[in-house]
């Protein structure tokens, strides 16, 4: 087997590697290069140096989108992971129809973001108008919480599946031993189950944080940044800069924002992975 691998590795590796280069590396490099250019279409770009970056950094809507997004990531990450873990704890007990519940919780994840955004827009606007509060498009705070509710509804089921897998992989012997030693259920949870769950937590945090930053369709469908860019997340802000503004200079500025955005997300994700990985324990 080893011999065969030595001989045939290019057959296994090269096609994927080529696809990776064509589909990811080249567009990525091109994208970074375009951040330094003024262009209308990607085929004829003129190099203009760093001015795109200085204009991107001085754009107040970009600042607002950044803070709004960071707040959104913090709130949604906490809510989704606590929710997902709670549901997972409940659905790993012996309840009748537990698989049916799991399926139901997972299902929202199968619906596209745009569709969800519009459905929740109708639902939330209906509730807001019954409460005689300003509608979503008039109130950035309502837009924020609407987005949090939407994302929780969509993602708790997905994280639940990962947490269930994690919970099920905890050896019964460990839990039993702690019970015999007289640990309360809370102690068992925090001292035994949670440390064993760290790999799942690492994955789930990574997914929710990056999803929170990259969120686009739901943001566009739910509020489209209304009122006046106040409910814009970073990805939508970049999209709007790139396509929503007329004039050749904006494309490059949007591209520069995208590069900044990429650096921020990569940095935060790496820090998070490093921190949570350290807490993972061996069985």
């Amino acid at each position: 087997m080893k011999k065969a691998l030595k001989k045939y590795w290019p057959i296994f590796l090269l096609p994927t590697f080529a696809a990776f280069i064509i589909g990811f590396i080249i567009p990525f490099i091109q994208g970074v290069y375009l951040a330094f250019c003024q262009f209308t279409t990607v085929r004829d770009a003129t190099f203009i140096g760093l001015s795109n970056f200085s204009r991107a950094i001085s754009d107040t809507t970009f600042h607002h989108a950044l803070w709004y997004n960071i707040a959104f990531v913090i709130v949604s990450t906490l809510a989704i992971n606590l929710g997902g873990l709670a549901v997972a704890m409940i659905l790993t007990r012996a309840i009748r129809g537990r698989n049916a519940y799991r399926t139901v919780f997972f299902m929202p994840n199968l619906i596209g973001g745009i569709v969800l955004g519009y459905i929740w827009q109708i639902l939330l606007n209906c509730v807001l108008s019954l409460l005689e509060k300003p509608l979503l498009a008039l109130d950035a705070t309502a837009g924020f919480w609407g987005l949090v509710i939407l994302m929780c509804w969509q993602q708790i089921g997905y994280m639940m599946v990962i947490y269930i897998a994690g919970l099920q992989s905890i050896p019964d012997a460990l839990v039993e031993a702690s019970e015999i030693d007289g640990a309360t259920p809370l102690q068992t949870f925090f001292k035994v189950k949670l440390p064993m769950l760290m790999p799942s937590i690492t994955i789930c945090l990574f997914l929710t944080i990056t999803n929170g930053f990259k969120l686009f369709d739901q943001n566009m469908a739910l509020t489209a940044g209304q009122p006046a860019h106040q409910s814009e997340l970073l990805a939508y802000n970049i999209y709007y800069t790139f396509y929503g503004r007329s004039g050749p200079q904006w494309r490059g500025i949007g591209q520069a924002k995208a590069v900044i955005f990429c650096i921020i997300v990569v940095a935060i994700s790496l820090i998070q992975l490093g921190v949570t990985r350290k807490k993972e324990v061996q069985q």
Partner: protein, 469 residues
């Protein structure tokens, strides 16, 4: 054995996905240099007639990126007819409402770029000037009735308006007479206000409202942030004797406020709900007889008049009076924001094919009928585009609203020109729309100050951004 098969299958899957990725990318890059034979979709249809015609060898092809979703079916049919007649493949793609810029940007970057595309006026041209072929001397430019309908800068013809449109307030005459009025009673803003407020006061008894919902959803908000906002700009330009400006003064914003108040407070729904109302909501309210007045344009003709809808006798269009200027002689708002441009980066054959296609559209009898006719004007029996087109051989349009515009002009009324093409940017419109929606939900002076600031301050800053850097 089993394992080997599995491995083989995996390798095949990998290779397949990788190769298909490769082939699609190389397709894109190579086609630019390859002879522009045809768009894939049109090729199949084109082949047989080209051979039978023989005489006109099809060398180029046309790719039209159409801006108007309402007329997609008609353009598809025209394209097919043209291909059958000449053998030249014509591909028509229509961008979904509100996504034209996005689509144009990505399509322009592809190797099969559109040969014929649209810009919305001088501001839209800013983005695409470097892509526009100089149309001076072309046959289609020669067919144009007046240079007013072309985008000309320094002697270069960048674009040609192919449709002239009018907008105003569409009136349901039946309902208006039920309320005890006729359109002759409305000759000024004061009249309109009296009628609208009277209808609102009696709306329970009448069973309808004065105005359809002034929806501020993105499908509908352009009727106000762009079209209604045109009026204070027009009157200011008139007063200052200019046709564009780097800084608007907002002289007539109080009138604008009065008009906006009238729209939102005499409508089918509470003003706080307007942000959730769409263009379809508004249209349906009008079709269901829930409101008398509906601000929209001649492009809505086919949606308002036709089978199961109203007849020409039921509806009419009146000017949008905001209480400024000589209201007795004010006409409809008439102009164009649909300019045809030819992609100068296309191959010579394609440019020629595109110019030929454009000429055919404005000279051929079938094409002219399709562009100007209404019900049953298409060879297939479908409704035509009902446009008023500014070309020499164009027959009268069957569009009632277009005819009304011509009639008013003939009576000596002055049409209000479309100055929103000089609004500094889309961003300006969006911020104005946003401020108007906020004001509608909570009509305080503070919120109106937000509208004024979006109108005046943003104009200067957006103008500087668009033209300075």
């Amino acid at each position: 054995m089993k394992k080997r098969l599995l491995a083989l299958a995996l390798v095949a899957a990998l290779a397949f996905s990788a190769l298909s990725a490769c082939s699609s990318t190389t397709d894109e890059t190579q086609a630019g240099t390859a002879a522009p034979t045809s768009g894939e979709t049109a090729a199949g249809e084109a082949e047989t007639p080209a051979e039978t015609e023989g005489g006109t060898a099809a060398t180029g092809s046309v790719y039209y990126l159409n801006f108007k979703p309402e007329q997609d079916a008609q353009w598809q049919e025209l394209a097919q007819i043209y291909t059958e007649e000449t053998g030249v493949p014509v591909t028509v793609t229509t961008a979904a409402s509100g996504t034209y810029e996005t689509m144009l940007t990505s399509e322009m970057a592809s190797s099969d770029a559109p040969t014929l595309f649209q810009v919305n006026g001088p501001v839209g041209l800013n983005s695409w000037r470097d892509y526009c072929y100089d149309l001076s001397g072309s046959a289609v430019y020669g067919e144009l009735t007046s240079d007013d309908y072309a985008l000309i800068e320094d002697g270069t013809v960048y674009g040609i308006a192919y449709v002239i449109e009018s907008y105003g307030i569409i009136v349901n005459q039946t309902l208006l007479s039920e309320a005890g009025y006729t359109v002759d009673d409305i000759q000024s803003f004061a009249d309109l206000q009296t009628v609208a407020e009277d209808i609102t006061a009696r709306s329970d008894e009448l069973g309808f409202a004065a105005f359809t919902s002034a929806g501020m959803d993105s499908s509908s908000d352009w009727r106000f942030k762009t079209h209604l906002a045109n009026l204070p700009i027009y009157f200011e330009y008139q007063e200052r004797g200019i046709t564009s400006t780097d800084a608007i003064e907002g002289t007539y914003l109080d009138n604008f406020r009065n008009m906006w108040d009238l729209y939102i407070n005499n409508s089918t729904c509470p003003p706080a709900e307007l942000t959730a109302k769409t263009a379809n909501d508004s249209l349906n309210e009008f079709l269901n007889g829930q409101a008398v007045f509906y601000q929209n344009g001649s492009w809505e003709y086919a949606n308002v008049v036709g089978e199961g809808k109203y007849t020409d006798a039921d509806v009419t269009m009146i000017p949008i009076y905001i209480g400024v200027g000589d209201e007795a002689n004010q006409g409809l708002c008439t102009g164009s924001e649909n300019y045809w441009c030819v992609n100068k980066n296309a191959s010579e054959e394609d440019i020629q094919a595109t110019l030929d296609f454009m000429e055919w559209c404005v000279t051929d009898e079938t094409a002219l009928q399709a562009m100007t006719g209404g019900e049953g004007a298409m060879p297939s029996g479908g409704a035509g585009m009902a446009f008023a087109i500014p070309f020499k051989q164009a027959p009268e349009s069957s569009n009632l609203f277009v005819a009304l515009d011509a009639q008013m002009t003939a009576e000596g009324k002055t049409p209000v020109s479309w100055n929103f093409t000089t609004m500094p940017s889309e961003e300006w419109k969006n911020m104005l729309g946003s401020a108007m929606a906020v004001y509608a939900a909570d009509q305080t002076d503070d919120n109106w100050a937000g509208v004024v600031s979006a109108f005046v301050d943003n104009w200067a800053s957006e103008y500087a951004l668009a033209n300075g850097g």
